[in-house]
Amino acid sequence: MTTPDSVRVEPDDPAEVVETTVEELAPLYRQMLAIRRLEEASAKAYSTGKIGGFLHLIIGQEAVCVGAIAATQSDDYVVATYREHGHAYAKGVPARPILAELYGKKTGLVKGLGGSMHLFDKKTSFLGGYGIVGGHVPIAAGAAFASKYRNDGRVTLCFFGEGASTIGGFAEGLALAALWKLPVVLICENNQYSMGTPLYRSLAVEDVSLRALAHGMARDRFDGDDVIKVKRRIGEAIERARTTGEPTLIEVVTYRFRGHSMSDPGLYRTKDEVEEWKRRDPLNRCRQRLVDLGIKDADLESLEADVKTEIEDAVKFAEDSPVADEYFPYVVKE
């Protein structure tokens, strides 16, 4: 129950193939690829000192945010952590303002005031990236509370890491969402490490979804390699929230290929372990699936060329933008 491996136990058949089509999968592959390239571009800029502070990359976990958000309606709310570039992009935020924000530019998504950990976008109902572990879970419950209060049919997705499952903010948000039946889907991206801490050193039982039991809350737990599977399984929870208002706690087992942040060499993991997971790369898996589904080479090529241009353009935009220049207007709203 508390061995380092037990979390890898896959509740359902890993060989299971979820039905999909090129039409459904291609756009998701495009998003995953764009996020991968966006993160790589940020890493590059960071290593040349163009981006500072903490930079947490989601490389390896793209299928989770992309699959989950693919199952939402455009006005559903999303609340995320400091590892949220991909979530913002999947929600519809263009690469340009995201990268410009990381560069600390005036054209950044939040004017250079928030940075990598605090992307917010009102237009796409992206309620933000937060830096205090667990502190954003009640905020997500609050957005869901507002939807229930107004009966506006919206659902809120809240993403957090497995490391957040031990902190009070998560526990209280969970308890209140269950008690008041708030339309929120709590998605634990279990990438098996909280900074340098493996699951078995932070959880008595390596199954975060069990937290739902005491609250009579619906729960699910599955492997996050297949973006379509993520979309389907989280889609069920979103449907439940929208129709019955019932919240769900979902644990998606995944893996980050890089360190916790750019400053973390990640020495606490063996090369073999990392390689094993890279072989399962959800991005490659998705691409292969597209090929198996018979996507035209030309389409695949143009899609990938397209992403390349988009990210190169975003980098240029970020580089060429003027630096951030004001902060006083954003302290107190007049």
Partner: protein, 329 residues
């Protein structure tokens, strides 16, 4: 004019604002079916139903955060802390989320929320339940901090706080709920007092006493006694600690040349130190004596009544400080 209590004034303010704006709701422990631990929300559940008067379990961090999230998407939550002592388990939501989201989001999301409840020492409830935490909140940019001393201020300022687009920490005097004051009758229309305006509670020419919340009453009493000795105190109540109305305070000190700052909280880095700094900065040339501060003793609040009175500022302590500032002792 009608004479109403501080408690009724708060109740009226919330009732009127909830009638006016359907996005305003109240959430907290015992606010509904129990009508509030201090009965401030008396009758609101019957009037507005469970949808808008939400009884919460004991999870301050959770429901304070729910308020922040709801405010981000356009509602106007009033979060009641049964007492501000319990805000310490939720303070991260107030400081790291409520106060910063407007800035972190580059101005895209604002957080129109009121965190309210009684603060300051109560009577014989021990150190965990008897403390004044205003200097914590007043320290934090992004927040507004309001501490009314009278029923009329309580009503007018709470209504303004509910309409404010920023997070407002609204600290009520735990021992003031039964105090009364003249207030326009509820039907006499809007009573709005702008946040950030100090109020001269008593005019005087010899010395300025600056105090807020319960200490205003202590100062008024001291002023009355001192008047018998021919000493005329001006009692100025900032009412709002953040933003602080330095001009009104400084004008009074410029006039009297002497200043005593009275607060019920701990001395070290208490808000009174900030007021003292501002006064020496703006009035140094006008000051005829060092600024005096009267605070509680630098200790956790004891339980025994006699010790509690020793620890907290009393009328006699204010009088002594005034006499020191006037070189009468």
């Amino acid at each position: 004019m009608a004479v109403i209590s501080y408690r009724e004034a708060l109740n009226q303010a919330m009732r009127e604002e909830m009638e006016r704006d359907p996005d305003v709701f109240i959430m907290g422990e015992e606010v509904g079916h129990y009508n509030g631990a201090y009965k401030v929300t008396q009758g609101l559940l019957q009037r507005f139903s469970e949808r808008r008067i939400v009884d919460a379990p004991i999870a301050e961090m959770g429901f304070a955060g729910i308020g922040v999230g709801a405010a981000m998407v356009g509602l106007r939550p009033i979060i009641e802390f049964m007492t501000f002592n319990f805000s310490l388990v939720a303070i991260d939501q107030i400081i790291n989320n409520a106060a910063k989201i407007y800035q972190m989001s580059g101005g895209q999301f604002h957080v129109p929320i009121v965190f309210r409840g009684p603060g300051g020492p109560a009577v014989q409830v021990g150190s965990q339940h008897s403390q004044a935490l205003e200097s914590f909140y007043a320290h934090v940019p992004g927040l507004k901090v309001v501490m009314p001393s009278t029923a009329i201020d309580a009503k007018g300022l709470l209504k303004s706080a509910i309409r404010d687009d920023n997070p407002v920490v609204f600290i009520e005097g735990e021992t003031l709920y039964n105090t009364t004051w003249e207030v326009p009758a509820a039907d006499a229309g809007e009573l709005l007092i702008p946040i950030g305006q100090a109020d001269v509670k008593r005019e005087g020419s010899d010395i300025t006493l600056i105090a807020w919340s319960k200490m205003v009453w202590t100062c008024l009493e001291a002023a009355k006694e001192l008047a018998n000795d021919g000493i005329e105190c001006e009692v100025v109540d900032p009412r709002t600690l953040r933003p602080l109305d330095v001009d009104t305070l400084a004008a009074s000190v410029q006039k009297t040349g002497r200043c005593v700052i009275v607060e019920i909280g701990w001395p070290v880095a208490g808000f009174g130190a900030e007021v003292a700094y501002q006064m020496q900065r703006h009035c140094m040339d006008a000051l005829d004596a060092p600024i005096e501060r009267v605070t509680s003793d630098d200790v956790p609040m004891p339980y025994a009544k006699n010790l509690e009175d020793e620890v907290q500022p009393q009328v006699k302590d204010v009088i002594a400080a005034v006499k020191r500032a006037l070189y009468l002792e």
